[in-house]
C-alpha cells in the first residue's frame, strides 16, 4: 500500500524520484488507488503554491511542478479512466488573449488551477474575444482567466471583457487577468474583476468565486 502522505510530501518538495517511484508502485498494485494518488499529488501542489507565496519557490519551480504533474497524469492515466479523484470539479476558462502567443505563464496557472480543484478549459493562445464568449456560453462557464505577456495583450483583454458585455453576459461571468503587463490600474481600465501576477493569487480568487 502506497504511503499517500509521503507522495504528497514528495510532490511538495519537488522530489521527482520519489514521486515517480510511488506512482509506479500505485500502478504495480493494479492502479485501484490512482484517484487517491492524484489527490495526494494535488495536495503536494498546494504545498508548492504555499512555498511560492513564502518566497522559497519561484517561477522555475512552478514550471517544474507542472512538469511533474503532467508526468503523474501520464503514469496514472490508464487507471484514472472511469474513476473520480476529488468529486465534481468547478469548470473555468483559461487562455492567452488575441495577438499574444506566450503560453508558459498560462500553463503554470493551469497546473495550479487543476491542482486547486478546477477543470480548466484551456482555449490556447492568441484567442479572439468571440471565441472566449462562445466557449463560456456553450459550456455554461462563469469564471474566465485571461493571460498575456505583451502590453498589446491589455487591448485584447479589454476587447474580451467588452465582448462579454456586448453579448449581454458581463453580469454572469467573473474575469481575472494575469501576466507581466497587468496591474491594478490596468484592471480598472480593462474592466476586469480581478488581476494577478502570481498563480497562487489566481487560484485563490477563482476558488472564492467558485465557492470551493
Amino acid at each position: 500500500m502506497v504511503d499517500f502522505e509521503a507522495l504528497a510530501q514528495a510532490m511538495g518538495e519537488l522530489d521527482e524520484d520519489t514521486v515517480k517511484e510511488l506512482l509506479e508502485q500505485v500502478m504495480a498494485e493494479g492502479g485501484g488507488d490512482a484517484g487517491k494518488a492524484m489527490d495526494a499529488c494535488q495536495k503536494g501542489m498546494d504545498t508548492v503554491g504555499k512555498l511560492f507565496e513564502e518566497g522559497e519557490y519561484f517561477v522555475g519551480d512552478l514550471i517544474y511542478a507542472g512538469e511533474l504533474m503532467t508526468d503523474a497524469v501520464e503514469t496514472l492515466k490508464d487507471a484514472l479512466v472511469g474513476t473520480e479523484s476529488a468529486g465534481k470539479k468547478a469548470k473555468m476558462i483559461l487562455c492567452t488573449v488575441k495577438d499574444d502567443l506566450h503560453d508558459i505563464g498560462k500553463n503554470i496557472v493551469r497546473s495550479m488551477l487543476e491542482a486547486g480543484g478546477f477543470e480548466v478549459v484551456d482555449l490556447g493562445i492568441d484567442v479572439p474575444p468571440q471565441k472566449v464568449v462562445e466557449a463560456a456560453k456553450d459550456q455554461g462557464i462563469s469564471i474566465i482567466a485571461l493571460s498575456g505577456v505583451l502590453t498589446l495583450a491589455l487591448d485584447s483583454m479589454k476587447a474580451t471583457v467588452r465582448a462579454f458585455s456586448d453579448a449581454g453576459m458581463r453580469d454572469q461571468v467573473k474575469i481575472i487577468i494575469g501576466g507581466a503587463p497587468v496591474s491594478e490600474d490596468a484592471c480598472k481600465a480593462i474592466g476586469a474583476d480581478e488581476w494577478a501576477h502570481s498563480p497562487q493569487k489566481t487560484v485563490s480568487v477563482c476558488r472564492d468565486w467558485a465557492g470551493i
Binding site: 519561484f58 522555475g60 519551480d61 490600474d185
Partner: protein, 390 residues
C-alpha cells in the same frame, strides 16, 4: 550649442545623474521602440521592411518629443535582411503586431556542443531548425541578395547614428563590450537563446550539474576575457551615457538558491571589475529585481543603474539607496491617464527620486504598440521633464 556639444552635454547629464550628482534637471532616455511607428502614422509592416519609412518615424518622434536619448533609433525590428533570405516563419508581423516564435537552440545535453564550436553548431543545428526545409534550398543568389541587403542595413545603421547624433545631438546608451557584441551572463544566454524558460526551469532541478558546467565554462571562455579587458582598460568612456549595458531576465525564474548557484557568483565578478575601475553599468531588469536587492547593496554610488520594469521605484530607492534608478514612468498611466495625471506623477518621480541625483527618467516598458501611450500624454511628459528644474 551645436549637435556635437549637445551630445556631450547630454552624456554629462546622464553620467552625473547616474553618479548621484545634483543636476539642474532630470535627463530623459525615452524607452520607445515601435510605438513611434504608429505615432508617425505608419503601420508596423510598412516600417519594418522599409528603411525610409522607419527613418521618417524616428525623425517624426525627435521633431515632436523633446528627449535626451532614444532607446531604439530605428535599427531594431528591421526585417529586410531576413526577408531577403526567405524569412523562415520564425517571426511574424502585420500592421499592428510583431513577434518572434520561441526557439530553444539546445538541450541540456548539447550545451557543450554549442560551446565547443558555436559557428559549426549554428550552421548545422540552429539555422536548419530556424529556416526549416528552406534551409537546404538557399542558392548562391539568395545568399548574395541577403548579403547586399545586409550591407544596406549596415549603411542604414550608420546613417541613423549620424542623424540622431549629428543632427539631434542624442548620445548612444553604451558601447559594445571590449570584445564584441553585448555582455551576456551565462544564465541569460541559457534563457534567451539556448534552452528557453521551460527547459532552463526543468534543468535547474533535474540536471543542475550540467548547468554548473555550462555557466563555469561560459564564464571562463566568454566573460573572463571581458573582465580582463575591463581591468586593463582606461576606465569610463565619456562618449557614452554608460560604460556598459546588461539585460537581466533569467533571475525571474530562479529561486534564491538557484540565483546564488547559477547566477550571482559570476555576475559579481563582472560587476566588481566595473566597480574597481569606477565605471557605470546600466542593468535593464525585466520583471522584478527587488527580491535580490541585498546582493547589490554594497556597491558604491555611481556603479550601478537599474532600469526597472515591474518594481516600484520608490520601494527600490528605499531598498537600494546606493543604486541609481532609470525608469519610473508607467505605461499604465501613459495609456490610460490624462496629461495632467501623467505630469503629476512625472513631477513626483523627479522630486522624490531625482533631487539629489541618482535618477534617469524613462518609461518602465519598451513602448511598442499603438496603445502603450496616448500621444498627448507622451508629449506632456516629455515637455515637462525637459523643462522642469529641480
Amino acid at each position: 550649442m551645436n549637435a556635437k556639444q549637445m551630445q556631450q552635454s547630454r552624456v554629462q547629464l546622464f553620467r552625473d545623474a547616474a553618479n548621484f550628482k545634483k543636476t539642474e534637471r532630470v535627463p530623459h532616455f525615452a524607452n520607445v521602440v515601435t510605438w513611434k511607428v504608429f505615432d508617425a502614422g505608419y503601420t508596423l509592416d510598412q516600417a519594418m521592411t522599409n528603411f525610409d519609412v522607419m527613418k521618417k518615424t524616428v525623425v517624426h518622434f525627435l521633431d515632436t518629443y523633446p528627449v535626451d536619448g532614444l532607446m531604439d533609433v530605428g535599427i531594431r525590428n528591421q526585417f529586410n535582411v531576413t526577408e531577403a533570405f526567405g524569412g523562415g516563419g520564425y517571426y511574424y508581423y502585420n500592421e499592428e503586431v510583431v513577434g518572434i516564435h520561441d526557439h530553444a537552440h539546445c538541450t541540456v545535453d548539447t550545451l557543450n556542443d554549442y560551446l565547443d564550436d558555436p559557428t559549426k553548431y549554428a550552421w548545422e543545428v540552429i539555422l536548419p531548425k530556424k529556416f526549416g526545409a528552406s534551409w537546404e534550398q538557399k542558392t548562391k543568389e539568395v545568399w548574395k541578395k541577403t548579403f547586399r541587403e545586409y550591407m544596406r542595413y549596415i549603411m542604414y545603421i550608420l546613417q541613423m547614428s549620424s542623424l540622431t547624433g549629428g543632427t539631434y545631438g542624442l548620445p548612444s546608451l553604451s558601447p559594445n563590450n571590449p570584445m564584441m557584441g553585448a555582455v551576456v551572463p551565462g544564465p541569460e544566454e541559457l534563457l534567451s537563446n539556448l534552452l528557453g524558460i521551460q527547459q532552463l526551469s526543468i534543468a535547474m532541478r533535474r540536471s543542475p550539474e550540467k548547468l554548473d558546467q555550462f555557466v563555469e565554462r561560459w564564464h571562463r571562455e566568454r566573460m573572463i576575457p571581458i573582465i580582463e579587458k575591463i581591468k586593463n582598460g582606461k576606465g569610463p568612456n565619456y562618449k557614452y551615457c554608460f560604460d556598459s549595458s546588461i539585460l537581466m531576465l533569467a533571475h525571474n525564474v530562479m529561486n534564491r538558491k538557484q540565483f546564488e548557484r547559477f547566477y550571482w557568483p559570476h555576475l559579481k565578478l563582472l560587476l566588481d571589475a566595473y566597480a574597481e575601475k569606477g565605471m557605470n553599468i546600466r542593468i535593464f531588469t525585466e520583471g522584478s529585481i527587488l527580491r535580490f536587492a541585498d546582493y547589490f547593496k554594497d556597491y558604491p554610488k555611481g556603479v550601478l543603474t537599474f532600469h526597472l520594469e515591474q518594481d516600484d521605484p520608490f520601494a527600490f530607492r528605499e531598498a537600494l539607496p546606493n543604486v541609481a534608478i532609470m525608469g519610473g514612468m508607467t505605461t499604465d498611466l501613459l495609456s490610460n491617464g490624462t496629461p495632467e495625471e501623467c505630469v503629476a506623477y512625472a513631477k513626483r518621480l523627479c522630486d522624490e527620486l531625482g533631487k539629489d541625483g541618482g535618477f534617469i527618467f524613462s518609461e518602465n516598458k519598451m513602448l511598442s504598440y499603438r496603445n502603450d501611450a496616448k500621444p498627448e500624454n507622451m508629449l506632456a511628459v516629455c515637455k515637462f521633464v525637459n523643462d522642469y528644474r529641480l
